[in-house]
């Protein structure tokens, strides 16, 4: 992957140091920020510095981190808590896993800094059970940090004490939402509740709590080491610093990229990602996971930040970036995301529980070739109602994949309902396989591959598909070596 145009702040140690050795982290300025802070800065100074840096939440919301800490500092409580949200649930995003596996100490250091800033003595890392290696590395890191006096009582002789404990998720996407996450740590079903009260006021066990995402935290020690001003000089007017994206899908170079905010999609997909696999055409890039939207080709040159992505109907989300080529059916993609959100909806509020189910059913109908134009009107109307009336971020953003694909790829929806065809040839009910008589040499490969035995023809003579029997599995299409079978 091209390192040109990339700038590593959150990932600076990943792959460079041995994550199981605290000394290697220390050798790269590790725990220097917390040492300086504990000896020279007041909690207010820390918050001020973070506000000056312009750092915003990297988990998707984009809330200013400094402000979040300030609210928790001002609210009174017998105890206060810092939570690291490592419940990376967005399919296609894996930067948090990489940071936890490659640089776990940076997260611990950042949590101590946040704890000092708000006056909290306890921290929890809420991590998915699906990430066993990250859990292992964190356990090792925590043990080492205690041994070196960088966690526990009286850190570096400053009088400040801070403990960190791991808490495990159990497979619920909605637990990435902070109020649901807090419920889960308390041992409950991970259902969200209405905000306000925000966690900064009434969070874990009703005490002031700050919840920060892994990537956000990975930036914190770096900000103190480089200075808030320098950090704020990177990026756009409203979004400072860098963002890690997880490039995946139909792109040549898959993996993590860290770029300054304001980099364009074209630079990420083509200059860094090396373009589309198999020399195919670019169709869309999906950002923001199941909460985001699909961005079509005309926006490839938009500089990416929190605001610009929202304007074009998507969102930053946690940074998953799935590239889709011309063979992707956008209705199918919308259906895929809706299936995900319907499955992961916690069921607490009606709009999300039932509304998304209905959206999914309509999409299913459309991909089966049974949709009507009226369905398209209903789809949009219902999508907007769900957005307006759901309780938490999951429901409020669940219709985004549908609404954004309808906005930019309406012709594909129309083709499915009006002409009963799937332009990309993905929706099997709408696909038709045919043999081009001029190209077919009668090699019989297709007939042998056909599981429904519906291809007939003599050897060295053009074959034919019995459309009534065809189950549209595509086996013949893959078997043909002469491009004689067309998919429409």
């Amino acid at each position: 992957m091209s390192t040109k145009k990339q700038l590593r702040i959150a990932l600076k140690n990943c792959g460079v140091i041995d994550p199981e050795n605290i000394e290697e982290y220390i050798a790269r300025d590790g725990y220097m920020a917390i040492a300086n802070i504990l000896t020279e800065m007041t909690p207010e100074d820390v918050i001020e510095e973070l506000k000056k840096s312009g750092l915003r939440g990297r988990g998707g919301g984009g809330f200013p981190t400094g402000l979040k800490l300030e609210f928790a500092r001002k609210n009174k409580g017998k105890k206060k808590y810092i939570i690291c949200n490592a419940d990376e649930g967005d399919p296609g995003a894996f930067m948090d896993r990489s940071i936890l596996e490659g640089d776990p100490h940076s997260i611990l250091e950042a949590m101590v800094i946040c704890g000092y800033a708000v006056g909290a003595g306890n921290g929890y890392i809420y991590i998915r059970a699906e990430y066993p290696l990250a859990i292992e590395r964190l356990k090792i890191a925590i043990k080492q940090a205690y041994k070196y006096g960088l966690l526990g009582k009286n850190i570096l002789g400053s009088g400040f004490s801070f403990d960190i404990e791991l808490k495990y998720g159990a497979g619920a996407f909605v637990c990435g939402e902070e109020t649901a996450l807090i419920n889960s740590i308390e041992g409950n079903r991970g259902e969200p509740h209405f905000k306000p009260p925000y966690p900064a006021e009434k969070g874990l066990w009703d005490m002031p709590t700050t919840v920060n995402n892994v990537e956000t935290l990975a930036n914190v020690p770096a900000i103190f080491n480089m200075g808030a001003e320098k950090f704020a000089s990177i990026g756009t007017k409203t979004s400072k610093g860098t963002k890690v994206f997880a490039l995946a899908g139909n792109v040549n170079n898959v993996g993590l990229v860290e770029v300054p905010m304001g980099t364009t999609l074209r630079e990420i997909v083509f200059d860094i990602g090396g373009g589309i696999t198999g020399g195919k055409g670019f169709k869309a890039v999906q950002t923001g996971g199941p909460s985001g939207g699909c961005i079509p080709v005309q926006f490839l040159d938009v500089p990416i930040d929190y605001e610009s992505l929202r304007e074009i109907g998507s969102m930053m989300g946690s940074g998953g970036m799935i590239i889709m080529d011309e063979d992707t059916c956008m209705v199918d993609i919308a259906k895929y995301y809706l299936e995900f959100t319907t499955d992961e909806s916690c069921g607490k509020c009606t709009a999300c529980r039932i509304g998304n189910k209905r959206l999914f059913e309509m999409l299913e109908k459309i991909t089966e070739g049974k949709g009507t134009e009226e369905d398209l009107v209903k789809l949009k109307e219902l999508g907007e109602i769900i957005k307006d009336t759901s309780l938490c971020g999951l429901g409020q953003s669940a219709p985004n994949p549908v609404l954004s694909t309808m906005k930019y790829f309406y012709n594909e929806y129309e083709a499915h309902v009006r002409d009963k065809i799937c332009p990309a040839g993905i929706c099997s009910s709408l696909t038709k396989f045919e043999i081009n008589k001029d190209k077919c040499i009668g090699c019989t490969l297709c007939a042998k591959a056909c599981p429904a035995a519906c291809i007939s023809g003599k050897v060295r003579e053009p074959h034919e598909i019995d459309q009534d029997k065809c189950i549209k599995c595509g086996a013949c299409y893959k078997a043909c070596k002469f491009d004689a079978i067309t998919k429409s």
């Binding site: 996407f173 259902e191 799935i322 995900f340």
Partner: protein
């Protein structure tokens, strides 16, 4: 009889774990993780046992068990094959692989073959998107899987060679 004794041992180990982490409601999920590790799944008796040990209602325990997809009340097969259905895998043809696997084993996702050998599961992104599409067979990650690779994976599982 022999099986009962086996179960007793597991309950004893669970007791030890509860004592270690503390019998509080806040540790419920962690305790259920341990219980599932020990028993392979969470049958009613185990849920009741946990609720009594922690002094909370069985309804509450069952509510938590059924909420999280990681917990299962049905025993799984000897070998679990999970197909990742995260977006990156999906775009690279994971659904074809899932369908082919279902056909091969004659069961649907979430089900176990009659002989108790195989269970098919679908997963939500394991964060190995660079290797898409991904199949995880008994914890071993297979990357860039094609439909034709499935036979080998199944044979490998059965023979126990890893």
């Amino acid at each position: 009889m022999c099986e009962n004794k086996f179960a007793e041992e597991k309950f004893r180990e669970l007791d030890g774990f509860i004592e270690k982490v503390g019998a509080s409601e806040g540790n419920l999920i962690e305790i259920l993780h341990k219980a599932q590790d020990l028993f392979g799944y969470l049958p009613k008796e185990v849920q009741l046992y946990v609720s009594r040990s922690l002094g909370i209602s069985a309804a509450k325990v069952n509510g938590v068990v059924t909420f999280y997809s990681y917990f299962t009340e049905i025993p799984k097969g000897k070998h679990v094959i999970s197909v990742c259905m995260g977006t990156a895998c999906f775009v690279r043809g994971a659904s074809d692989i899932l369908v082919a696997l279902e056909k091969k084993l004659g069961i649907k996702t979430g089900q176990t073959t009659k002989d108790g050998k195989f269970t098919i599961d679908s997963l939500r992104c394991v964060g190995a998107c660079g290797l898409a599409p991904v199949v995880i067979a008994d914890g071993k990650v297979h990357g860039r899987v094609e439909v034709d690779d499935l036979d080998n994976i199944l044979v490998e599982l059965e023979s126990g060679v890893r």
